[in-house]
C-alpha cells in the first residue's frame, strides 16, 4: 500500500495511500489526522482515520520517520490508492541521505505519479520537502532544517516577536525551554514542534525524558492539542482514544396516526391522579419574576443545574413558611418538619414520574444536584424503589428546556403546593442602584409559578413564600 520515491538531496519519501477496505469499496473519507506535518511517527503507528459506510478505520504508517506532507484534508473523499500523506524516513536514513551528494537519487525510486488532483499542501512553504529533525543540517542547503543541536547557527532565527503554536508553547512550558533559544525551521523561521523536541533531546533544554510516546498508537497524549490554527489545511489531530460510530437516529415514534389506540397504563394513572387533584384541591396559581444573575454565575462555578438552586431556595423558604410543606387529606392537615422534595422527571412518551429526595433540607446545592441526577437517572432506567416515589411534602416541576415561560402546574396530592420553574431568558429589566437611580439592564430572568391549594392557605401566604424564594435566589 505504499511506494517510495526520493527527491534530490532528501531522504526517501514513503507514500501513505488510501487502503483497500473491502472488495466493494472504491473510496474512503479522511475523518482525522493523528499527526501534523513535521511530527515523528513510528511504523504501524496510526497516522489517520478513514471512514466508509460508517466504519472508521485507522491507517497505520507504512514506515518510521517524519510526516513530510499531508495531502488530503479532513472530510475529503478520495479513491483507493490515492496518496494521503508522505513519510520522510527516519533520522538514521536522513543522516545517510545527507551524506550523499546533493542531487543524488537513491536507487529504490519507483515514483508512481501521486494522485495530485485533490491534493492540498498542508504547509505551502514546505512544498513537499521533508520536514526534518536531528542534526542533518548542512550549510549551503536551503533553510529546510534548522540547527537543532541548539548551537544557534541557524538562519532566520529572528527570535524577537516570534509567535508559537499552542503545541510548541505547551512542550516548551513542560520542559522549561526558552523558545528564544530554539532555532525554527518552519516558514519564516517559525519554531515547529520537532524543533523544540530536537532542542530538548539535544540536552540544551535540560529535558530528562523524551516527551512523546511513540511506542503505542493508542496513547491519547501523542497529539493532545490541535495545531490547526498554525497550519491551515492541515489536520486537526484529535486525542487518540479510538471509537466507532453508532449511527445517530432521529426522532422517536409516537402512536400510529389516525388510528385510535388505548392509553398506556402509566398515562391512565397520571390522568387519574391529575384529575383527582383538580377535583379535590381549590387550585390557584401565583407567579413571581426572579433575576437569576447570581444563580447563573454560581451554577457555572459549582457545575450544578439551576434547578438545584431553585430547590435549595424553596427548601429554605418552606422552613420559613411550613404551611406549604404539608399534606391536606380530607380535613386532616399535616405540617411537616423536614422537606421531602419531589422532582418531576419526564419519561418521554411514557409519561412522568416524581421521585422524592428524602431529607432534602439537609442537602446543599451540590448534594441536591447529585441526588436529583441519581433519581432521574434511575427513574429513566425504571429502577426506582417504591419508597423513592412516596412521601413527598412539596414538588418542583421544571419543564422549561423548551423555552416555555409560565405554566399552571397541578398539585401533587396530598401536598398543598407545587413550584414550576421554567426557562431562564435574558430580558431588559429596570434595575435600581443603591442611590435610587433607575436604569435598564439585561438580566437572565425566570418566572416561578406556584400552584397552591386555597383550602389550606391563602394568596398572601403563597406570595410571601414566592418572595422568600426570590430573595434567596437573588442573593439579597
Amino acid at each position: 500500500m505504499s511506494s517510495s520515491r526520493t527527491e534530490p538531496g532528501a531522504s526517501t519519501l514513503i507514500d501513505v495511500t488510501m487502503p483497500q477496505m473491502g472488495v466493494s469499496v472504491a473510496e474512503g473519507t479522511v475523518v482525522a489526522w493523528r499527526v501534523d506535518v513535521g511530527d515523528p511517527i513510528a511504523a504501524d503507528e496510526t497516522i489517520c482515520e478513514i471512514s466508509t459506510d460508517k466504519i472508521d478505520t485507522e491507517v497505520p504508517s507504512p514506515a518510521s520517520g517524519v510526516v513530510a506532507e499531508i495531502l488530503v484534508p479532513i472530510d475529503e473523499t478520495v479513491s483507493i490508492g490515492t496518496v494521503l500523506a508522505r513519510i520522510s524516513t527516519d533520522a538514521d536514513a536522513e543522516l545517510e541521505a545527507a551524506a550523499d551528494e546533493p542531487g543524488t537519487v537513491s536507487p529504490d525510486t519507483t515514483a508512481p505519479d501521486p494522485t495530485k488532483a485533490r491534493a492540498v499542501q498542508a504547509e505551502p512553504a514546505q512544498s513537499g520537502e521533508p520536514a526534518q529533525s536531528g542534526e542533518s543540517a548542512r550549510s549551503g542547503e536551503p533553510a529546510r532544517s534548522g540547527d537543532s543541536s541548539g548551537n544557534g547557527a541557524s538562519a532566520a532565527s529572528a527570535s524577537a516577536g516570534r509567535r508559537y503554536s499552542p503545541v510548541v508553547q505547551r512542550i516548551a512550558a513542560e520542559h522549561g525551554v526558552d523558545l528564544a533559544q530554539v532555532a525554527g525551521t518552519g516558514r519564516g523561521g517559525r519554531v515547529r514542534k520537532q524543533d523544540v523536541l530536537a532542542f530538548i533531546e539535544s540536552g540544551d533544554g535540560g529535558a530528562t525524558e523524551p516527551p512523546l510516546h511513540i511506542e503505542s498508537p493508542y496513547r491519547p497524549d501523542l497529539v493532545p492539542e490541535s495545531p490547526a490554527a498554525a497550519a491551515p489545511g492541515a489536520a486537526a489531530p484529535a486525542a487518540a482514544a479510538p471509537g466507532g460510530a453508532l449511527a445517530a437516529p432521529a426522532s422517536s415514534g409516537g402512536a400510529t396516526r389516525d388510528v385510535p389506540s388505548t392509553l398506556s397504563r402509566m398515562r391512565r394513572q397520571i390522568g387519574e391522579h391529575m384529575k383527582r387533584s383538580l377535583e379535590t384541591a381549590a387550585t390557584c396559581t401565583t407567579w413571581i419574576e426572579v433575576d437569576m444573575s447570581r444563580v447563573e454565575a454560581a451554577r457555572a462555578r459549582l457545575g450544578v443545574t439551576g434547578l438545584a438552586f431553585v430547590a435549595r431556595a424553596s427548601i429554605e423558604a418552606l422552613r420559613e413558611f411550613p404551611a406549604l410543606n404539608a399534606w391536606l387529606e380530607g380535613e386532616n392537615y399535616t405540617l411537616h418538619d423536614g422537606v421531602n422534595l419531589g422532582i418531576a422527571v419526564s419519561l418521554g412518551e411514557d409519561g412522568l414520574i416524581v421521585p422524592v429526595v428524602h431529607g432534602a433540607h439537609e442537602l446543599s446545592e451540590e448534594g441536591l444536584a447529585a441526588r436529583i441526577r441519581d433519581l432521574a437517572r434511575r427513574a429513566r432506567a425504571r429502577q426506582l424503589a417504591p419508597d423513592e416515589v412516596r412521601g413527598g411534602t412539596f414538588t418542583i416541576t421544571n419543564p422549561g428546556q423548551y423555552g416555555s415561560i409560565m405554566a399552571t402546574p397541578i398539585i401533587n396530592q396530598p401536598q398543598v403546593a407545587i413550584l414550576d420553574f421554567e426557562a431562564v431568558i435574558k430580558r431588559p429589566v429596570v434595575v435600581t442602584d443603591s442611590e435610587g437611580n433607575d436604569s435598564i439592564s439585561i438580566r437572565p430572568m425566570t418566572i416561578l409559578g406556584l400552584s397552591w391549594d386555597h383550602r389550606a392557605l391563602d394568596g398572601a401566604m403563597s406570595a410571601q413564600f414566592l418572595a422568600a424564594v426570590k430573595r434567596r435566589l437573588e442573593g439579597a
Binding site: 472488495v23 496510526t46 466504519i55 472508521d56 498508537p217 471509537g243 460510530a245 422527571v345 437517572r377 429513566r380
Partner: protein, 240 residues
Amino acid sequence: MASGRPELWVCHLGTLEYREALALQESVRAARQEGELPDVLLTLEHWPVYTRGRRSAVGELPMGEDWYRMQGIEIVETDRGGKVTYHGPGQLVGYPIVAIDDVVAYVRTLERALVAALAEEGIGARGRPEDGPDYTGVWVENRKIASIGVHVARGVTTHGFAVNVENDLQPFGWIVACGLEGVQMTSLIKETGRGAGQMRCFRRRAAFQVAEALGRRQRLVSLAALRARAGSTPAPAAVA
C-alpha cells in the same frame, strides 16, 4: 461439523457505564491484536448516555447539557467518528471484537445476523445498503430498529451494534440527528406488541446469529475468563 470452526467468545457484561465498556473493549482489542484472545463478542446494556463523536455538531444536543443530565442521561465525548447517539437500558449493545479484512462485508454480515435474530422474534427487518451509508443499520419498513457503527484498528474491530429491544425511545427524540431527518426509531416490543422482559431471550438469539454469520462457534465465557486470557486487561470498575 461445528467443531471445525474457530471460536467466538461471547461474554455478557450486564449494564455498564459507557466509559467502562470502552476501556474494556480497548483492552480486549489489544489482546485480540496480540493473538491472546480469539474473536470476542461483548453483549451489554448501557446506562443512559449520549455519546458524541468527533464529527458531532454543537446543535445536536439542543436542550443544553444540564438538562440532559437532569433527565439522568450522561453525555460522553468519544473520539469516534459519526454523530451523537443514545444508549440506554433495554437496548442490546453488542461489541464484536473480531479480526476482519473487509470492513463493508463485515457490516453487511452484522446486518444479516440482526435481521435473522429479529426474524426469530417474528419481525420482518432488513438492511438497506442500496440506500447508502446513512442507512447502515437494520430497519423495519422505514423505522430504524438497530444502529451499527464500527471502528477498525490494526484489522480488529471495536464498537458494533445497538438494537432497540425494550428501551425508552424518547431520548432519540431529544437529539438532532443530522442526515437522518424524519427517521422514526422503533423497538422490538413496539413492533411485536409484547411487554418488557424480552432482553434475555433476544440477547441470546442475537449472539447466536452473529456467531453463525461470522462462521464462528459460539462459546459463552465469563468476564473473569476473558480477563485471565487477556493478561493485562483491567477490570471494569463495576459490573451490574
